[in-house]
Symmetry: C2
Subunit: 206 residues, 2 copies
């Protein structure tokens, strides 16, 4: 009886630890075949939830400045491929973008937990960098309403962020895609192919 209770306790603890450190791992659809560049890119962008947004610094001599940001490209399993962000000009990234729109957004497969023991720099642990223009979305537009729903569905915490920080919706207008998901260099992939891909959300990995 003592062993049963201890075992159940350990199991519960493990489950809580897994959930606590990796809460989103348990419900990601199957990773696509690496040969399908559009599917791979959209899988990576739709099922991830944070990355590094890079802008030209206004105050560090024009250096490229990276910042950890959360994002969403749509409601869960309804991704559009376009990353939306919730930024405040109290932070450099938004200030930079309002002066110089050139930007890129970089996302790694590694935080999804699906790279296993492979190194984050292993080519089969996929990564994507979307380059383009980081733009403020018109506050009164339907697009902002869509984006806020998309962001809040994946980042509920955002709903409670301070109003006086004046968070606004930004989006990346994509002009170039750099995707590595296998050996042999970046996969050829146009923005059109990427945006027009229709995602197949069946199948789940643990």
């Amino acid at each position: 009886m003592g062993f049963n209770k201890m075992c159940m306790f350990m199991l519960t603890l493990m489950l809580m630890l897994m959930w606590g450190s990796h809460g989103r791992l348990l419900s990601i659809p199957q990773k696509p075949d690496p040969d399908d560049a559009a599917a791979s890119a959209r899988w990576l962008v739709s099922h991830n939830f944070w990355g590094v947004l890079n802008t030209i610094s206004a105050d560090l001599g024009g250096a490229p400045f990276g910042n950890v940001v959360s994002y969403s490209d749509g409601l869960p399993n309804e991704g559009t491929g376009i990353p939306y962000f919730y930024l405040t000009t109290l932070d450099p990234t938004a200030r930079n973008a309002l002066i110089d729109e050139k930007a890129s957004f970089t996302v790694s497969e590694y935080p999804l937990g699906t790279c296993g023991k492979r190194d984050p720099m292993n080519p089969t642990c996929s990564k994507i960098s979307l380059t383009g223009k980081l733009k403020l979305v018109d506050e009164k537009s339907k697009e902002t309403e869509f984006a806020r729903n998309a962001l809040f569905s994946k980042h509920p915490e955002m709903k409670g962020w301070p109003e006086d920080h004046n968070f606004q919706v930004f989006k990346l207008e994509i002009e170039n895609i750099f995707l590595i998901n296998w050996f042999g260099g970046p996969k050829p992939l146009t923005v059109e192919q990427y945006l027009h891909h229709k995602m197949n959300n069946v199948g789940f990995i643990l």
Copy 2:
């Protein structure tokens, strides 16, 4: 008897899943007090192992280009605070840096698993961006030897990367530090304070 076996099986499975997806989680020293900016920054850089390295693109109209890279700042528990990278000019980042040295390197606490259920953009889930110059280290120098040992100790896979890719050691010469680890904006922290901090590696978190 049947229940015992099943419970042990589930426990073993859970442990393997945790290890598989988060192999490095189980041995990180205690996170420092957020008021100690130098300690916090060094903790984040020394115990992490990948981030996003940002350079000025040579082929995308000068846009800031981010790339997922692995790094090391020293042997385990002997971090120097200076990130070293192992890059090939087959990849844009190294090519960009050899033309324009301006760069930043961005690291998030989130992959360490220590942010729990907090959003990656929550200020208490720390993040750091080191801005400066990305430089090729002289191949024949003691520094390259040190860096290779540091890199291979944390990224054993690198030892087997193809020789004809001509991987070389690069380092970031840091000029500015942007650290967020609590509410209230970036912590004041000079490069000198950061580099001269002596790390206290006692205590472990699960």
